[in-house]
Symmetry: C2
Subunit: 160 residues, 2 copies
């Protein structure tokens, strides 16, 4: 895997996201990487990210899947354009839809691994499927339809 | 609307959820009420709940819709059983699936209102549809399939 996460390539003005922004001190700061043809993100929940005692809160799972998927969409689009991820203009994606299926209660006391796969790239839309693995079991699956942000939606200064 | 929120009826041992537990000091502590045949929850995001500057983080929207919907499912089930919400054994729901469609960027500087409607109750499953309104506009819609927890999934002491 590469040493630099997808999110570490985002320009500063696009790095304030609660889920994945490297500049959001209150946020989750998730980090995503390529691992061959899959993207992977490992996040260890805090003790207070609980649903019922010992079980991870479903909203956290949705949040990680969301940001990991939009990050994967961006990284995939850079690849298809044969561009390095730090080249301008930035390619960033927002979520059009997020679907999560909760298959098993997710244990709180271990790292959560989310693995994503690009299912389709069509114009500005990228569909990313993912699964969340905890303690060796797939506890949730997700599908995100991500849409590339138009430049006029971006903050005015998107330089790094 | 009633003065006491659905979540304030939950037994202490089921009140640690990051999204809606009244005993989770780090959590969102969302509160849901009946308003005629709809359930309503109003949450004002913190400045750090951002996606891009000025816009609410989608994972927060998913989290509010999730907890508001499982709370609505429980409240609806108590209704169908003609039971007060503080009677034992408690009726609590977990999320089987969560679908969110993001229709418009959601502004960060105003309260977010989520309104839920029970679409179906079938055995232990309750389907709740919802919409998130900010500044007078429907910015997202959600559908949650909630499943009633079995008593053996609950923490051992569920007394209030």
């Amino acid at each position: 895997m590469e040493n630099k996460a997808f999110q570490e390539y985002y320009p500063n003005d696009l790095s304030h996201c609660y889920g994945c922004g490297t500049l959001n001190a209150h946020g989750l700061q998730i980090k995503s990487y390529w691992d061959k043809d899959e993207s992977v993100c490992v996040y260890t929940p805090m003790p207070y990210h609980t649903a019922i005692p010992g079980i991870v809160y479903g909203g956290l799972i949705a949040s990680i899947i969301d940001c990991h998927s939009t990050g994967t969409a961006a990284a995939a689009k850079y690849k298809t354009e044969n561009r390095a991820m730090d080249t301008l203009p930035p390619l960033r994606f927002v979520t059009a839809s997020l679907n999560v299926n909760y298959l098993l209660p997710t244990p709180l006391d271990c790292p959560l691994e989310v693995r994503g796969k690009v299912k389709a790239i069509k114009g500005r839309r990228v569909v990313v499927e993912s699964r969340l693995i905890a303690d060796g079991k797939v506890c949730a699956t997700g599908e995100v339809v991500a849409v590339q942000m138009r430049e006029n939606m971006m903050p005015t200064n998107t330089k790094k």
